[in-house]
């Protein structure tokens, strides 16, 4: 297993290199340069700036420079914010991570609860409510949902703040977390319900009931644990999507995370920030995929990686 994990980590190196290369050439293909302003700068200033940030050589030379710096762990400077990219990411990533993890916890708890209740009360009113919430939650984009959440809960009822993010302050956390986590919650609820329905029909559940185990115990101990396997398989991609997909929510709730920085960076061609974030996100996704594969082996002892 250790050898397997090591090998997978090693494979990530060429993968990240390839992603960095594609991103490098793509972002240099974005029309315009990083110092194009509404008010044009004097050519001498632009030339000086380009020399300062090493943008005056041929593209191939810039690429080699960039790779050399990357190997030394140096992501370069953000032209716009005039500070190292690692600092930009270091400042923003904690908020993005908090938001993503909270949304993930919400999606998992709400989704599994909804799915289990729906399955246990199949075709009852609770089931219909659950299925409706799961269906509607998957049909509305997260930014639209957020707009309506803010309209109703923040502006009309005044329960929550309209913008801002302070970890631990529910007035600022609830709406963005629900806004971001609703879609995956709906997805998890659907899978949980389907999986629970299948498990509840198994013979060993009937056996458990026949020997007099209480219904609550049957559901929680016998059924839910086995029904969680299909859910587990989607958790990795969901967590990755939540951490790397919070642009709009961050933008909308003015959360100082890195998702917002990326959108701004592409607009002004801030090469360093674009590259830094792409590599960070690609690493997060690759690591989570690895975590999923490892968790398969833990849940299902029949899988053995060598």
């Amino acid at each position: 297993m250790t050898a397997y994990i090591l090998r997978r980590l090693l494979v990530m190196v060429p993968l990240l290199w390839a992603i960095a290369t594609i991103t490098f050439f793509l972002m240099h293909a974005v029309p315009g340069g990083p110092f194009d302003n509404e008010k044009p700068l004097p050519p001498a200033t632009v030339a000086a700036l380009e020399r300062k940030y090493n943008l005056d050589g041929p593209l191939a030379e810039q690429y080699l420079d960039f790779l050399g710096n990357l190997v030394r762990g140096d992501l370069g400077l953000s032209f716009r914010q005039n500070r190292p990219v690692s600092e930009v990411i270091g400042d923003g990533f904690p908020q993005t991570l908090q938001l993503g993890l909270c949304a993930f916890a919400f999606a998992l708890i709400a989704g599994v609860t909804l799915g289990v209740i729906s399955a246990v009360k199949q075709n009852g009113p609770m089931d219909y409510i659950g299925v409706f919430v799961a269906t509607a939650g998957a049909a509305v984009p997260n930014f639209v949902l957020s707009v309506f959440l803010v309209l109703f809960f923040a502006l009309r009822l005044g329960w929550f703040d309209v913008i801002g993010w302070e970890f631990g302050n529910p007035r600022q956390m609830v709406l963005p977390v629900i806004g971001l986590g609703m879609y995956p919650a709906a997805f998890i609820a659907r899978i949980t319900r389907a999986s629970m329905l299948e498990v509840l029909r198994q013979d060993y559940i009937r056996t458990a009931r026949a020997k007099g185990v209480g219904e609550f115990h049957v559901v929680m101990q016998h059924a839910v644990r086995n029904a969680m396997v299909p859910v587990l398989t989607v958790l990795g991609p969901i967590l990755a999507a939540l951490i790397t997909g919070s642009f709009v929510i961050e933008h909308y709730f003015a959360i100082p995370g890195i998702g917002r920085s990326f959108v701004e960076a592409v607009g002004v061609r801030d090469y360093g920030v674009i590259m830094g974030m792409t590599l960070l996100y690609a690493t997060v996704i690759a690591l989570l995929n690895l975590a999923v594969d490892i968790s398969y082996a833990i849940v299902n002892p029949r899988i053995r990686y060598s």
Partner: protein, 321 residues
């Protein structure tokens, strides 16, 4: 059929009437027709498409031109003449929503068309080609799969913009009904979207390659080309159709996302995404501006999801009762 029924038939005419033979598609269609939710999704979807198309060609349905401005009526709620109100420039929300629906559907379908072409080509190429081709194509697919997809879409959208490319450039539209910026959005969303389909097609093809009926066709002297096009490709279609049905609303979501963060289509073009973004700017003055396009996005999403679920059940032989 119970014994008594069979006895009744035998007594009646003396023989059983042979049941009409249905092919794969016939059976699938019958099964789909029995699925109420999928049928409802399909019917509502057709209705939305019909309304959106009619609103574009007929004054009676469309009522106003999407970019027609009326300065006396700005940011109104629903009135007798403007059924769903007007926006900040006095444009009719009803007319603009249908224009947005047309454009978003074009983006959804256009994206899936590109995804389909690339996905089938790469997937089939990997499955049928040499080991070397398979290795190269699949490593490339893995690479694109590892790309953070929203980042890639935003970046690609920026790369394609503001240039005078042939066909997809910013100049006059060269394909009727498909102006350059629209094609740029389609290409940007397709950039990472084809990966899933390529993997799906490859998996299907690899499974089919070893099937007995393919071997039978080969032993009877069918050419490789005939085997691929007549025997194998049609059998990969089921899962592909399902994937495309789910892909259309995903692409519509992606476009709405681009529109919302300001990387969508240039004004005054309305897509559902840009309409939501415009509505968001005036959300405290006129809630209709954001509510209407949001509702249409949700409706499209639900219709495609129900239809896709129905198609999957109908086309999957394992769920056959």
């Amino acid at each position: 059929m119970s014994i008594s029924e069979r006895a009744a038939i035998l007594a009646d005419g003396g023989f059983e009437r042979p049941r009409k033979q249905l092919g794969l598609w016939g059976v699938a269609f019958q099964r789909l027709r029995r699925n109420k939710l999928a049928m409802a999704g399909g019917v509502i979807l057709l209705l939305l498409i019909a309304l959106a198309t009619l609103a574009g060609v007929s004054e009676v349905v469309g009522r106003y031109r999407p970019s027609e401005q009326q300065y006396e009526e700005i940011l109104t709620g629903p009135t007798g003449s403007h059924w769903l109100g007007t926006d900040n420039l006095g444009r009719d929300t009803w007319a603009r929503t249908w224009e947005g629906t047309r454009i978003s559907l074009k983006i959804g379908i256009g994206t899936q068309f590109v995804v389909l072409c690339v996905g089938i080509l790469v997937g089939a190429g990997a499955a049928l080609g040499s080991r070397w081709t398979d290795g190269v194509l699949m490593r490339f697919t893995d690479l694109m799969y590892a790309f953070p997809d929203l980042l890639a879409i935003i970046l690609m959208r920026a790369v394609l913009s503001q240039r005078d490319w042939p066909i997809i450039g910013t100049g006059d539209p060269q394909l009727p009904g498909l102006p350059g910026p629209l094609l740029q959005v389609i290409l940007a969303i397709s950039f990472v979207g084809w990966v899933t389909l390529a993997r799906l097609v490859r998996g299907q093809m690899l499974a089919l390659k070893d099937m007995e009926y393919v071997m039978a066709a080969r032993s009877m002297g069918a050419s490789e080309r005939r085997i691929v096009f007549v025997h194998m490709l049609p059998n990969t279609l089921g899962p592909v159709i399902v994937a495309v049905t789910f892909g259309i609303p995903t692409a519509i979501f992606a476009e709405a996302f681009l529109g919302f963060i300001g990387f969508g289509l240039p004004p005054p073009t309305a897509s559902l995404g840009t309409l939501v973004a415009e509505g968001y700017a005036y959300v405290r003055v006129n809630e209709w501006m954001i509510a209407v396009p949001s509702a249409v996005i949700a409706a499209l999403m639900l219709c495609f999801t129900f239809l896709g679920d129905g198609l999957r059940d109908a086309l999957d032989p394992r769920t056959r009762r």
